[in-house]
């Protein structure tokens, strides 16, 4: 348990502590009682408790030794077919330890799995049902192929309400003895869009800037955490300095190791605030989509985003 980071420190351990999502929690408790679960799929927005639910379920099923029977994988890091064929298969076909019926594979960010990997997973899920269960976690269940969905009990996680978020903020504030006013709470709710991981990060960042947390300190922390590098890079391109923006992109992708798709969706978000005629913004959004498509076709992120930046330089000059 990493206590230095609040997002981990305040991650609920038990099913009962998971914020909202009562429709899911009740079913999970029933599974624990039966000591039996089907394959599960948790789908829903970021920061609403999907991973937390999976971990809490495992903990309640297996107790303190839970880690021995759980394989936690993140498909965004290990998305290829090799992982499914070897790592997952190897784990799934090994007998559970400590007298339980089955082991659990938690496959987080499963929507990042390639098509091939999903096909391979389908077989694995079927052939070892006796001794292993899968919990697939994703934002969009539509990105998971039909045959896998049909093998799972699908649970949709709701966006959290303002009250839910307030409950969580209070929980953290009380435990950390934070001095937090109403303006700050509203600012947190506005900025974090119902994502509890961001709530934790934002609160902790603001707290590290000063002991008293106000609306201002929340906004301050939020603006420092914004992807300013992407904005600076775009500004260089807009002012016609393509070479400089290209260098900054190389820095983001090659030195900082950011994912091109994250950079590109941030670019997409920022196009609206460019200082140029609306018509041109639409041209750029169209281009952005085209290069994004080429990346999804397997194109190189550096080249494709560079090509987009060159378009920005051209368009803002005309």
């Amino acid at each position: 348990m990493v206590l230095e980071i609040w997002a981990e420190k305040y991650r609920p351990r038990m099913l009962a502590d998971v914020i909202n999502q009562k429709h899911v929690t009740d079913r999970m408790k029933a599974f624990v009682k039966d000591k039996h679960i089907p394959h599960l799929m948790f789908a829903g927005p970021a920061g609403t408790g999907k991973t937390t639910m999976g971990l809490a379920l495992a903990r309640e099923l297996y107790g303190t030794e839970w880690k021995k029977n759980v394989l936690e994988l993140n498909a965004s890091d290990e998305r290829g077919i090799d992982v499914i064929r070897h790592k997952v298969k190897e784990f799934a076909r090994t007998k559970p330890i400590g007298g339980v019926q089955f082991r659990i594979v938690i496959l987080d960010e499963a929507d990042a799995l390639t098509q091939d990997a999903q096909q391979a997973l389908r077989r694995t899920m079927e052939s070892h049902t006796g001794i292993s269960r899968f919990i697939l976690i994703c934002n969009w269940s539509t990105k998971i192929i039909e045959p896998i969905q049909s093998r799972c009990a699908v649970f949709r996680f709701r966006s959290l309400s303002e009250d839910d978020i307030k409950t969580y903020i209070d929980r953290v504030a009380k435990s950390e003895k934070l001095d937090l006013d109403g303006g700050a709470v509203n600012a947190i709710i506005e900025i974090t869009e119902g994502d509890l991981r961001r709530v934790s990060n934002l609160m902790q960042s603001a707290a590290s800037l000063g002991s008293k947390i106000s609306q201002d300190s929340i906004y301050d922390a939020a603006s420092r955490a914004k992807p300013n590098d992407v904005r600076d890079m775009l500004n260089q391109a807009i002012s016609g300095n393509f070479s400089e923006s290209r260098k900054m992109l190389q820095d983001l992708l090659l030195k900082q190791g950011l994912a091109g798709s994250d950079v590109l969706s941030e670019i997409h978000r920022q196009i609206y605030s460019f200082d140029m005629p609306e018509e041109k913004k639409m041209v750029l959004i169209d281009k952005c989509g085209e290069y994004d498509f080429r990346i999804s076709e397997g194109g190189n992120e550096l080249i494709q985003i560079e090509a987009f930046l060159a378009q920005v330089s051209l368009l803002s000059k005309k």
Binding site: L3, I5, A7, N74, D77, S208, A225, G257, A307, A310
Partner: protein, 395 residues
């Protein structure tokens, strides 16, 4: 080098510079001891060549020093005295040729100019000096003892005639348009034009027919030359052929092209077009990789060479220092540190239950703020059982 191979060895083969040729020939005929001559003009217009052709045609020995020789007063006088004392075979005449005299260094070639003046004054043979800038201060004293013959820039037409002749002799087909382009680009500098032509000759693969007739071998082209030929190319085919003899994988050449677009092209429209072509080439590149289908290689190469080359409005007449691909350099340089951070991230992934991509994009900006607090980094390192200093990158 074609410039050496096709240096005219008689006056009749010499192109252009009519008045300079006349002046020089007359000066040689009328020469009396105590006087030198300075041939001056821009680079590559035939100053040295004229002296060579004249000497050859008239069976005169050339005793030459140029900027590659050390030209201090001591060196000069030694070279000259040994040359003078040495009886020439068949009692031929001699010319002392001081090439690139404005390149005499004030320091290394100490006393060189003074010695040259002494030689001009005392020589029993004509002393010919060559300079780009005869009015340089260094040569002030020398000018008083020399006649001046001016060379002009060559016309595009003069250069074209010569290039065509060389291309024919080399049995390479180069289009009239391209020859015209090279000639125009040269700005009247025959030497640079011939060098440019040589690039093309080297990058065009000779046909089997050529190989049989001339014994011409495929020669390896350096990546720098290939970049020059590619970016200056005026047709897609020419651009494609430019990389034909480069000993590098298409993938690496791809990044060479990518890295040098901004150095070559100045118009944003050209840059945007060129990058879009590369982006298309990249799509084919991936089709090759993901399907192991090498059929697509031809398309990838066409797009990255021809596509990029035709993105310009007209070839740039400038010297570009083509650079080694930045991204390959960065990847090479950061190999160690990337492996180390990857290690750290894989631990963080487990402890924080999210992907390294999410950690980089969503957590790091906040972690950087948190890390400003004393003890945060150390505490986190301890909790995650990381080495001390492993999280220094957060600072």
């Amino acid at each position: 080098m074609l410039t050496e191979k096709y240096r005219p060895d008689k006056l009749s083969a010499y192109v252009g510079q009519k008045s300079a040729v006349e002046d020089f020939v007359k000066w040689m005929r009328d020469w009396k001891p105590g006087k030198g001559v300075v041939l001056h003009g821009p680079p590559g217009v035939g100053k040295t060549t004229l002296v060579y052709a004249f000497a050859r045609e008239n069976n005169i020995d050339l005793i030459e020093t140029n900027a590659s020789d050390l030209r201090s007063s001591k060196e000069l006088s030694e070279t000259m005295s040994s040359a003078v004392s040495q009886k020439s075979l068949f009692n031929r005449g001699k010319i002392f040729l001081f090439d690139e005299v404005d390149g005499i260094s004030g320091y290394e070639d100490k006393g060189g100019v003074g010695e040259m003046i002494r030689i001009v004054e005392s020589s029993k043979y004509p002393v010919v000096m060559i300079a780009n800038d005869p009015y340089s201060k260094k040569l002030y004293e020398l000018r008083k003892r020399a006649d001046m013959v001016a060379f002009r820039k060559l016309t595009v037409w003069d250069v074209m005639k010569r290039l065509q002749l060389i291309a024919d002799a080399e049995r390479v087909f180069v289009s009239r348009d391209y020859i015209h382009d090279i000639a125009k680009k040269s700005g009247g500098d025959m030497r640079s034009a011939i060098n440019d032509l040589e690039l093309v000759c080297r990058s065009v693969k000779p046909t089997v027919e050529d190989m049989r007739h001339s014994g011409l071998r495929e020669r390896e082209v350096s990546i720098f030359d290939a970049m020059g030929a590619l970016f200056k190319a005026t047709s897609a085919r020419m651009a494609r052929d430019s990389i034909g003899n480069v000993d590098k994988e298409p993938d690496e050449i791809f990044w060479w092209i990518e890295n040098n677009i901004t150095g070559e092209y100045e118009d944003p429209e050209e840059v945007a077009k060129a990058y879009d072509m590369l982006s298309r080439a990249d799509v084919f590149r991936n089709r090759i990789r993901s399907r192991q289908n090498w059929k697509f290689l031809a398309y990838m190469i066409d797009m990255m060479t021809g596509g990029v080359a035709v993105s310009k409005k007209a070839p740039y007449r400038k010297y570009v220092r083509y650079q080694y691909p930045q991204n390959i350099a960065i990847m090479g340089r950061t190999k160690g540190s990337r492996a180390a951070t990857k290690e750290v991230f894989s631990i963080m992934t487990k402890e924080l239950h999210c992907s390294s991509r999410k950690i980089k994009w969503e957590m790091l900006p906040y972690l950087r703020i948190m890390a400003k607090e004393d003890g945060f980094r150390g505490g986190l390192e301890k909790e995650m059982k990381l080495e001390e200093g492993a999280l220094d990158f957060l600072a």
